[in-house]
Symmetry: C4
Subunit: 233 residues, 4 copies
Amino acid sequence: MALLYTLKKQVLEANKQLEKYGLVTFTWGNVSAVDRDEGIMVIKPSGIPYEELKIEQLVVMSLDGERIEGELNPSSDTPTHLYLYNNFPKIGGITHTHSIWATSFAQAKRPIMALGTTHADYFRGEIPCTRTLTNEEIEKEYEQNTGKIIVELFNNLDENELPGVLVANHGPFSWGKDAFSSVKNAKILETIAEMAYRTYVLNDNVKGINDFLINKHFLRKHGANKYYGQNDE
Amino acid sequence: MALLYTLKKQVLEANKQLEKYGLVTFTWGNVSAVDRDEGIMVIKPSGIPYEELKIEQLVVMSLDGERIEGELNPSSDTPTHLYLYNNFPKIGGITHTHSIWATSFAQAKRPIMALGTTHADYFRGEIPCTRTLTNEEIEKEYEQNTGKIIVELFNNLDENELPGVLVANHGPFSWGKDAFSSVKNAKILETIAEMAYRTYVLNDNVKGINDFLINKHFLRKHGANKYYGQNDE
Amino acid sequence: MALLYTLKKQVLEANKQLEKYGLVTFTWGNVSAVDRDEGIMVIKPSGIPYEELKIEQLVVMSLDGERIEGELNPSSDTPTHLYLYNNFPKIGGITHTHSIWATSFAQAKRPIMALGTTHADYFRGEIPCTRTLTNEEIEKEYEQNTGKIIVELFNNLDENELPGVLVANHGPFSWGKDAFSSVKNAKILETIAEMAYRTYVLNDNVKGINDFLINKHFLRKHGANKYYGQNDE
Amino acid sequence: MALLYTLKKQVLEANKQLEKYGLVTFTWGNVSAVDRDEGIMVIKPSGIPYEELKIEQLVVMSLDGERIEGELNPSSDTPTHLYLYNNFPKIGGITHTHSIWATSFAQAKRPIMALGTTHADYFRGEIPCTRTLTNEEIEKEYEQNTGKIIVELFNNLDENELPGVLVANHGPFSWGKDAFSSVKNAKILETIAEMAYRTYVLNDNVKGINDFLINKHFLRKHGANKYYGQNDE
């Protein structure tokens, strides 16, 4: 239970970071985190403003979709979060927002090419955009199907090296080792999206950077031989 | 009278929200609310800065256009507000601004297509743009005629499912069940407009999302079977 | 002298408004005001940050260009201000900035068409852009020549109905009945420029609004029969 | 040592200015300064947030690349800073960021033309963009090679009159007589980049201003006969 309280505190704080980082309008975003040993996920309740959000309002769900704790309805995107936790075994936190830049790419159904080292520092390649859902997939289990088309897209991609995605016509999802990491990746995705947009306007024939430079930067920060930051990170 | 005081407090606070939400430059915006039982509307006085606005400065108008209370001139857009209340029987509050993004669409005379779920969560279809006024309509009863071309445009649309409009060459009007709801819709319209602009730049052949997805999202938030937010909303 | 102190206080406060309104980076802007009875102008000293600016640092110039009071050098744009006061007999204050949007139009040498009522509320027609200076005009009396090409451009325009201009390759100048009014017009010009830019991107064939609508809005706010704001304005 | 403490205080303060000026997301930027008499450079440690940064965490490096003081790893861009100090003999401070606008130009591999007097006030000509690095240059001594391609580019340019550069696919570096001056030039480069972007969108055939106007403005602020600002500057 002490662990659960810690997890809840992280989820609470991470949800509040969405406003601090300028990623949300009204309540258009939610963060969750998972405790895989307990088989549970903690997530924001639906429609509650971040500044009013209290720890006891957070909703605890089992990974097979039962509400375990909390009197409020969980975020309507809950089935998407659950599907991702159940299929991406190493992720610990998930963030979903309708942030302006990433959502604009999602609406344009345009992936975000790796155009510079800022991108390559955090995403080892293009940030992909899902296909659109069929009417049948929208009609029934819409939110779970949103998770499915993400996972489908990552069949040939590594979610641990590409910690985010654009859902066509909808917006971004990002993830990380915990709730904070998923919010940080949401902010990075948003910033990369803004710079990619500007780059496309300045040069509509721009090519992505090559794999050599992508790997150099990604591994400088994330590989076994990383040398960015301090040793204890 | 207790009711009138409550209405005034809401109109006061809602006008101040225009600055908080970044929707206004100087005094370029106004919010009103209606009490249909009393047949009156409360509206901001013309040209008074939001931070200086006091409850006793608000102007009370009858729905047929007589000033009932208040020593200041009401907003110059008052006849537009009145015309909308008289023709949209269920709306309770109206907001008009010259916010950057929505006004740019209005100046371009370009409706805002439903390009994503953010849009569909609040507007059940394209946000339309009125025709331009004729010289005769500008010459005489200009502000009332602005209301008329909005209502004309909604002959085949449902104002309760499309809580906002672009007035060509002018800017946005939005409405809702009360003053706060109309301001919220003004902020949503502005945000949707920004994302639509970005989307068009990223993909100039983008198509609007289909009715299936529009209905799914709109009804998820607004229909009889809505499941977004908490039950008491 | 009491009058001079009042004028200085206005110029001090108006210069500080440049930061509040987001019109300046570092010290890239200056405001002045004139006392035509005394034949003097008060202007910001060159290169002093706004937050540090003190009333005793302001520079008093005669309208024929002599420094009358103040130990600091006046703004390097001083000869432009003087030239405008000497040729636009009714203006009382002048603002010059390198604000982002208006400067971008000036760099593009593109006038700002009247695309909507926001524009027409304050500028009775297109905001023009000067020609570029010749090498001779740059070489000698550069700053005064900047004033000359503005005045040249207004030979067939009324500076009292178009309170601002774009200087090609440089940035905007605006004016008004006093220092505050010139800053207000600088902010309006900047906002109009941003909306015009967005409008052009959304519709590259957009036409300016017609004179009928321009006159309606301009005279609603500025004519003898104006009805915007309160009677005492 | 008193001198070193002063240098460290400047570097600390200058790094904190990166946030104040809106030039950084997370820890994506670093400032250094050099003491050429002592043959040392002070630089930010890698990955430490600006608001937490303390003077004792700064890293002191010799100009040939040895860590002299400090327990933390220096910024991963340290070899680039060192290479620049060793090849640009008059510069005293260096700033590197991933600021949005300048980075977008760097990603587009597009130099920033001198489009107006704002540019010419600080940069005597186009702000160039480096070539991309070869795979060999990325593989070994990547950060030092980043310095090399900058210096290579300045073979025929004067770094004292062009205090900044775009590194292709990466972002901007800027410099100045000390740490503060390099941050100021970073902010100016960022602002110029934003205005150049807007200008290109408004006029895709825009030409740079001529050398006559560039020299006039640059020398007005920086030449022996400069007359901008106060005499003691």
